[in-house]
Amino acid sequence: MTSELPSPMPTVELETPTRRGDVVAAVLCLVVGLAGYYLIVPAAVYVPSKVAGTANSPAFLPNVLFLLLIGLSVIYFIQSLSDYLRQPAQGRARKMDWVLAGGTALICVGYITAIYIFGMTLGAALGVTALTYYFGERRPWVIGTIAIVLPILLWYFFEKIAHVLFPTPWLGIMEWLESSHHFTIWMA
């Protein structure tokens, strides 16, 4: 005998705005607006005393914008809360979708970290390998080819043609490789 448990809340796509999400977003916008007006602008904008409080002040537009954000967020909050209280069970995105989205974000963070540790070229090789595998590519020769060809092409274009200096990584592997006579001849 099979029995289906009734779902407490229907699932929706990750990109479908939910009423609960709207309430959370409104609160976050309000917090940003209040923090910006009362904390961030006073701390992060230097205002010469002779122009304080005038349209000539560097803090004039940021203050106006944070006030606007506060006003809009209050309306957004009231609107979304009243919608939520009227009919809260509109749906919720699957937890798995959030986990998968988080996975891509995590690979991005890993890729940036790899740039700091191994440099742009090896970081790109690792990043593209992780991401193509995560996106569903399973053929090792395809992943391997992209992981080798793409970073080398980009390295050659940006460093050798466009003369863009890449950041120096903690482990200077590319510098070590470039200093190798054989490698330089091969690339030439």
Binding site: T18, A44, T54, L65, L68, T104, I146
Partner: protein
């Protein structure tokens, strides 16, 4: 009126192999992106933008215009073949294009889409070429208060038509304006929101924000979709093409769609999707066989494609004459002009009329290349719809990272790009639109300058904004568009139409 002497001079500007080759390369890249579901025209332009740093202004704008024009058409290939619009502009093409493909008339639909796109593109560029000098002359009357009022109007209309509510659009625009204030104050030079990071003294770079906002969220969403079940792509017979006589017989459709699309294109913020639906609606309204619409009507495909491509030329008019971009893609084009030392706005036509005309001439060149490349793509359509997105998106992410780093050679930009991207993804989950954010960011410095200049001139009095007929008109239009947006969202709430508009 058009100055034909200057027009000839501008023709000389574009008749260089590097300019023409850049335009052709743009068309190829635009087509590739257009036929790839998920890669949008704006992403195509943003990814190509770092390459333009190494080009002269003519070649740079040629490359970007080639992409701009072609990505709109390219989206129709997958719309017709596999019912998946390659770009949002091709959403209306699916309605009749896909049923035609199912009936074994895919080649007819693809050819009609291409020829309608080309014809409407040419017609609308002629319209833009004619109206530009008039608008540019009128724009010379604009002072600080008037420019401020136009920006308010543009932002209101963009916020109203993007996403599912005006409120969310305005919140996104507020964030965009706020991010634009990062860096040195334009009058006093004091630091704002830099928190001691010297790389932010010059503010956030336009490319950093645009790549983050449009590329990273798309890649995150694609990562989720990669795990979901995929229907196998089945493509039927292509069938015969359309005759030249049949193509010509649809001329009233091209004219009507072009008129509607040009009008929508010239208004800030509307872009190609509403123009496509307007073209489709007009084609159905005046058709002798309206019952065929939705079941595979060539007229429907012609109306939709003529509509979305007719925004290209007119969308450049407000961008170059007023400094107000017509849509997000023209906002990036505007950023490219600024990067190359050209300031779109009332003075551009005065200072560089040959450059302005050359931009329109390049549109003609791009459209001719579109016709050539598009014809080739049609014969390969069965294969091109099977792009391996599991490889493309990771490659795009790597390109985006390199491109962002290359702009100023600092990892701070890369970190900021990913930060904006994650923020953009969260915005996307609640349908807080990215377009008002991006356009507000681009217009932010101008907005601040004109607002502060106006208030300094008037000693802080707000009367300056209601003392001129032009600024009053634009502020009234802004109020009107905001009211109309609220009313429409309220009337359509919960209906199918609201969902289509929102999507």
């Amino acid at each position: 009126m058009i100055n034909f002497d200057v027009l000839l001079q501008s023709l000389k500007l574009i008749l260089h192999w590097n300019v023409i080759a850049s335009c052709f390369a743009g068309v190829i890249w635009g087509m590739f992106v257009g036929v790839t579901p998920g890669l949008t025209g704006i992403m195509a332009v943003v990814i190509a933008l770092p390459l333009t740093f190494f080009m002269d202004p003519q070649s740079a704008i040629a490359l970007l215009l080639g992409i701009y024009v072609t990505a709109i058409y390219g989206g129709s290939v997958t719309a017709i073949m596999i019912a998946t619009p390659g770009t949002p502009n091709a959403a209306a093409t699916v309605i009749d294009g896909y049923p035609l493909a199912r009936q074994g008339k895919a080649r007819q639909a693809l050819e009609m889409a291409l020829y309608a796109s080309f014809t409407a593109g040419i017609l609308s560029t002629v319209v833009a070429l004619v109206i530009f000098p008039i608008v540019a002359t009128f724009a010379l009357e604009f002072g600080a208060a008037e420019v401020f009022a136009v920006i308010v109007f543009a932002i209101t209309i963009i916020a109203g038509v993007s996403g599912d509510s005006l409120l969310k659009g305005l919140i996104a625009a507020s964030f965009g304006f706020l991010v634009a204030t990062i860096g040195q104050d334009p009058i006093h030079g004091s630091s704002r929101f830099t928190f001691g990071v010297s790389d932010f003294q010059a503010g956030m770079h336009i490319l950093t924000l645009l790549v983050g906002l449009f590329t990273i969220p798309e890649i995150i969403v694609r990562g989720v979709e990669a795990y979901k079940s995929r229907d196998s792509v089945s493509v039927g017979d292509m069938g015969p093409g359309i005759s030249f006589r049949k193509f010509l017989s649809f001329w009233p459709i091209y004219l009507r769609s072009c008129a509607g699309g040009s009008l929508l294109g010239a208004l800030p913020g509307l872009g190609g999707s509403p123009a496509a639906f307007l073209g489709y609606f007009l084609a159905q309204r005046f058709s002798k066989k309206p019952e065929e619409f939705g079941n595979g009507s060539l007229e429907g495909v012609a109306g939709a494609e003529a509509g979305n491509n007719s925004v290209c030329g007119p969308a450049l008019v407000p961008m170059m004459s007023l400094g107000i971009p017509g849509d997000t893609t023209t906002a990036v084009l505007m950023g490219a002009l600024v990067i190359h030392g050209l300031s779109p706005g009332p003075m551009l036509f005065e200072s560089s009329p040959d450059f302005v005309y050359s931009v329109f001439l390049l549109l003609f060149v791009a459209l001719i290349f579109l016709l050539i490349v598009g014809t080739g793509v049609i014969s390969m359509a069965k294969w091109v719809v099977r792009m391996p997105t599991q490889i493309l998106f990771p490659v795009v992410l790597i390109l985006a990272t390199y491109g962002t780093y290359a702009v100023r050679g600092t990892m701070v930009d890369v970190l900021a790009m990913y930060g904006v991207g994650f923020f953009g993804f969260l915005m996307r989950t609640q349908k807080i639109p990215a377009a008002p954010f991006a356009i507000a960011f681009i217009l932010g410095p101008l907005f601040e300058n004109e607002l502060r200049k106006s208030l300094i001139i008037s000693s802080g009095s707000l009367d300056i904004f209601v003392n001129s007929a032009i600024s009053v008109s634009f502020l009234a239009l802004a109020a009107l568009s905001a009211g109309a947006s609220v009313y429409l969202h309220w009337r359509l709430k919960g209906t199918k139409a609201a969902k289509i508009i929102s999507d």
